[in-house]
């Protein structure tokens, strides 16, 4: 069947699932006084629409930073401003300064959900489609299946359409960046990635691979000739993009510093909301909080993060192929936040979308003989863990996650360990992350990829 019809069907199905999830509850629904992320986004629309730009990130009488102060870079603020203009034309009550706090209504929910869908349709979904069609190997059917799996990825759907956020925008921009780099348009790629960075500072996780790949490529082209020219072009693109995004704040250095302080709140500490990372898991064994001071915690975490990604970045520097770049990007940390979903009443969509995603990954990808290639690599993985018998790791991990999900819902944790389940979930998530991290390290450092993809990269 024609590619366009298959792709459009995948996109439509993706839209149906997204909208279906969005009909459910959102973060902080009906929970005064603070509500949740949904209220935060609405509040940002209120702030950006009513207050002058210089006051958006500062603590003033009109702008109480303790009530969901802006803590994302300026592009998010501009996006909220645009949404606020639309909101004002539909119903001014939604963005009334101070009076609209905690505003909840079915119409408003529809509007907010619609903004997420529109942002996805404009930025994320086209990036996914173009990426899968032009930068993946294989037959048309395989590419369409990849589009399908990408679009059905439950984590993003649940966070964006359930919990309520705009991760699709930043991820979309980052994906446009990857797409451009894959097609050899380095300047455009850096532009897109800078936009992603200026939308959410979390994209810094992906910054190192981008940096190393581009640096390595320039070095390879020769620092005395084309390489230098490329480097200059990329650097100027980055500087111009940042300057344009931060332009209104640059007139007063104090403003700019205030924005930076809001974006990187180092005072908050390492354990924000029991997020799935090494520190949370390690804390079970060693009470880090009690041993180290807050500052040292920050330095050590920074050092360890750097150490963790160092091998892959060095490899990328030495061998800047697109394939290596993609592998390095996979280091993006995935956060499985089941307790957060439970807080928002999103259990059913979570179960459903995860199940759908699993079904499809298993059925479609296995049916297309993707597995045999995977098994080759998994062989090396198994050899490393020779202590474990030949169990199918995938099914173990799936059952562990399923079991944890059931347990978190069905059972009440013991009173002396009230946070048992969230912590367990974070630890499992981290173990998964560690596992895939090691796996991809092995892949990156083992046999070179097939000839087909090598031809594409150069």
């Amino acid at each position: 069947m024609q590619t366009w019809s298959l792709v459009s069907m995948c996109v439509l199905l993706g839209i149906v699932v997204r909208w279906g999830v969005s009909l459910n509850s959102y973060s902080g629904a009906g929970k005064p006084p603070m509500f949740g992320d949904y209220e935060a986004q609405r509040h940002w629309q209120e702030v950006t629409y009513n207050l002058p730009l210089q006051e958006w990130y500062s603590n003033t009488t009109e702008n109480d930073l303790n009530y969901w102060g802006l803590d994302y870079p300026p592009l998010t603020a501009y996006h909220s401003l645009v949404c606020a203009y639309v909101a004002k034309t539909i119903n001014p009550e939604w963005v009334d300064l101070h009076k609209s706090r905690g505003y909840e209504s079915p119409a408003h929910k529809l509007f907010m959900r619609a903004t997420v869908l529109v942002a996805d349709l404009l930025i994320y979904i086209p990036a996914v489609v173009l990426y899968c069609l032009y930068l993946t190997d294989g037959s048309t059917k395989k590419k369409v299946c990849t589009v399908f799996c990408f679009l059905l990825y439950p984590g993003l759907i649940l966070i964006d359409y359930g919990h309520f956020q705009y991760n699709g925008v930043s991820l979309g921009f980052a994906l446009w960046g990857v797409l451009a780099l894959g097609l050899g348009w380095d300047a455009l790629g850096s532009l897109a990635f800078c936009l992603a960075l200026n939308y959410k500072q979390m994209e810094l996780y992906h910054a190192l691979p981008f940096f190393c790949y581009l640096l390595g490529k320039s070095v390879k082209l020769g620092l005395m000739g084309r390489g230098l020219f490329l480097l200059v072009r990329i650097a100027s693109t980055v500087l111009v993009t940042f300057a344009l995004c931060w332009l209104p704040f640059l007139s007063d250095p104090g403003d700019a510093m205030q924005v930076v302080r809001r974006i990187f709140p180092v005072a908050r500490g390492l354990f924000e909301d029991k997020v799935a990372n090494a520190w949370c898991s390690l804390n079970i064994l060693i009470k880090i909080r009690s041993i180290l001071s807050s500052d040292s915690q920050i330095y050590i975490s920074f050092a360890c993060t750097l150490l963790a990604v160092l091998p892959s970045c060095v490899r990328l520097l030495m061998k800047p192929t697109f394939w290596q770049f993609k592998l390095a990007l996979v280091r993006g940390i995935q956060l499985i936040i089941l307790p957060l979903f439970l807080k928002d009443g999103l259990l059913v969509p979570y179960a459903v979308t995860s199940l759908a995603f699993l079904f499809f990954s298993i059925y479609l990808l296995s049916a297309l003989e993707h597995c045999s290639e995977e098994e080759l690599r998994l062989g090396a993985f198994h050899k490393l863990l020779f202590c474990l018998p030949k169990l199918d790791l995938f099914y173990i991990s799936v059952s562990a996650m399923a079991g944890l999900s059931v347990v978190t819902v069905a059972l009440v944790p013991p009173t002396h360990l009230p946070d048992l389940f969230p912590v367990l979930v974070s630890s499992t998530a981290f173990l998964h992350f560690l596992g895939t991290f090691i796996y991809f390290n092995i892949v990156q450092f083992s046999e070179p990829p097939s000839r087909k993809s090598q031809k594409k990269n150069d």
Binding site: S5, L12, W19, L355, A356, Y363
Partner: protein, 520 residues
């Protein structure tokens, strides 16, 4: 091997379908939800003798007794979810566990539909060749049935048990296609006792079975061979039908409640058209009447005071008179319906064309009753669309008719979901199904020109315009307050054109004299 893979893929697609339904669980439910909850309560809490007399709620039991037994069975499972839903006094009771149970029951009974779809796919011949899985007729049929937009909307978003009932219909058709006529007859009698709307297609069954099953042989020229009549077969058929009816109606006949049951089953007090006009001939008739009345008043030919007030566009379900044209009574519609299906039925008596001829006749009976029937619900178009899918994957001309009828019929279901929250879902699902049906059928019959005639393509494109006008432009325009019924009227009228056209084309294909070359 290949077939198993085919079924794996179709199965996982249908799994996704079911999973999508879960995601829609929180979409607002319709009155049908309360209707079925009420029936669960009635059958569970009251003795059998009170079932058809009970009228605490306005949604009285108006399906045949076998469906009531079915609800009784469900109610025993419902007890474990939330016993409060089974109290008759709990009108409009909709706790989360109630909603969950009801949705689960629909999904569960849909399994029968999936099985029936599989049986239908087995009847479709696949050409031996190097066609890959996605292009095989049986796979296309599987997707067209399992992902039918109308069924999705009506069952899972709107709430009914149509998947379950259509499962019986399609299974019975499949059995006939596989020449297992007794099983087919049994399934159809069960279906009739579950929902009597299928009486529409009973003539097709009756005549076909009589002609092609009871008469075991035909003469050389195709006419009836009276000597080959087999009383044994007739008795078998009669026995099956009678025993099913006895099982279903038996207790009520024994209690002397038959007249009450029948009055509940056939409530002719309802108007010619449903609150939202189904896209049939009477929608056109009503519109013509309205136009003539308005013209008459403008040209001073009629007195405005003399016209009946609050016409049928009020959106209410009541009996009304027409202003200019003669009023239509139930008997008139019955006569029209019978006249419309007579040629089809006669055709399979005098010129039987096997099981596929029967299927065509069934379609024509369904469509004829839809076009001319009394108080037809727009959901009834599905009785024609689903069986037509079987013919569409086998025959080129039928594929063209299918595309027109399905797109039109599915669009006519749009008014069932009217909240803004449901708009993206219904538009996306409709586009999904439409894109798939067009591309799959086109690929199936590739290389022999377009499936649609130019006029049909123009008509379908016009549908997009109507959709945009009704869903987007009209709600934002100033006429929204004064004429709220206008988009529904426009949808009904525009779709009835397509439905009537498909009816005529299907008739032409049935009555075409044999010998004219038909494409394989």
């Amino acid at each position: 091997c290949g077939f198993i893979f085919l079924w794996c893929v179709a199965r996982c697609l249908s799994d996704l379908l079911l999973i999508c339904h879960w995601v829609c669980v929180s979409v607002s439910h319709s009155t049908d939800f309360e209707v079925h909850r009420n029936w669960l309560a009635i059958t569970h809490s009251l003795p059998v003798s009170r079932w058809y007399h009970e009228n605490t709620s306005e949604w009285t039991l108006d399906y045949p007794p076998l469906f009531a037994w079915f609800e009784l069975g469900l109610s025993h499972a419902a007890r474990h979810f939330d016993p409060d839903m089974l109290l008759v006094e709990n009108l409009n009771y909709a706790s989360p566990s109630t909603v969950l149970f009801q949705r689960l029951s629909v999904i569960f009974t849909d399994l029968l539909f999936i099985y029936a779809a599989r049986e239908c796919c087995r009847c479709v011949q696949d050409q031996k060749g190097s066609r890959d899985v996605l292009n095989r007729p049986s796979f296309v049929l599987a997707v067209l049935l399992l992902w039918n937009f109308g069924l999705l909307i009506v069952d899972h978003i709107h709430f009914q048990y149509n998947g379950f009932l259509f499962g019986f219909l399609l299974l019975s058709v499949a059995k006939h296609l596989q020449r297992q006529h007794l099983q087919g007859a049994l399934l159809f009698s069960v279906l009739l006792n579950l929902k009597h709307i299928y009486l529409y297609v009973a003539p097709a069954y009756g005549v076909y079975l009589l002609r092609s099953y009871c008469f075991t042989q035909d003469n050389k020229d195709g006419s009836v061979s009276w000597s080959s009549f087999s009383p044994l077969r007739l008795l078998a058929l009669g026995g099956i039908v009678a025993s099913v009816c006895a099982l279903s109606f038996g207790p009520f006949i024994a209690m002397g409640q038959l007249p009450q049951v029948l009055s509940r089953l056939f409530p002719f007090k309802r108007g010619l058209c449903h609150a939202y006009w189904a896209p049939n001939i009477w929608a056109l008739y009503n519109t013509l009447d309205k136009i003539l009345a308005t013209l008459g008043v403008r040209l001073k030919l009629l007195q405005e005071a003399g016209l009946p007030r609050a016409s049928m566009t009020g959106g209410l379900v009541q009996e009304f008179q027409h202003s200019v044209l003669p009023s239509v009574t139930p008997s008139i519609t019955l006569v029209c319906t019978l006249l419309s299906i007579l040629p089809a039925v006669a055709s399979i008596w005098f010129r039987p064309r096997g099981a596929r001829g029967f299927l065509r006749c069934l379609l024509l009976c369904a469509l004829g009753s839809f076009v001319f029937g009394w108080h037809v619900h727009e959901k009834a178009i599905l009785i024609a669309i689903l069986p037509l899918s079987i013919l569409a994957v086998e025959n080129r001309e039928d594929a063209g008719i299918f595309l027109v009828l399905t797109t039109t019929g599915h669009y006519s279901l749009f008014p069932l979901l009217f909240t803004p929250a449901e708009l993206p879902i219904k538009v996306s699902l409709m586009l999904l199904f439409t894109i798939y049906s067009f591309t799959a059928l086109r690929k199936l019959y590739s290389g022999r020109g377009s499936l649609l005639r130019p006029l049909e393509s123009v008509y379908l494109l016009g549908l997009v315009g109507v959709a945009f006008a009704c869903e987007v432009a009209f709600p934002l325009s100033p006429w929204q307050q004064k004429l709220p019924f206008l988009p529904l009227l426009a949808t009904s009228v525009y779709c009835s054109l397509g439905v009537c056209y498909s009816f005529l084309r299907l008739y032409a294909s049935l009555l075409r004299p044999p010998g004219k070359p038909k494409q394989p």
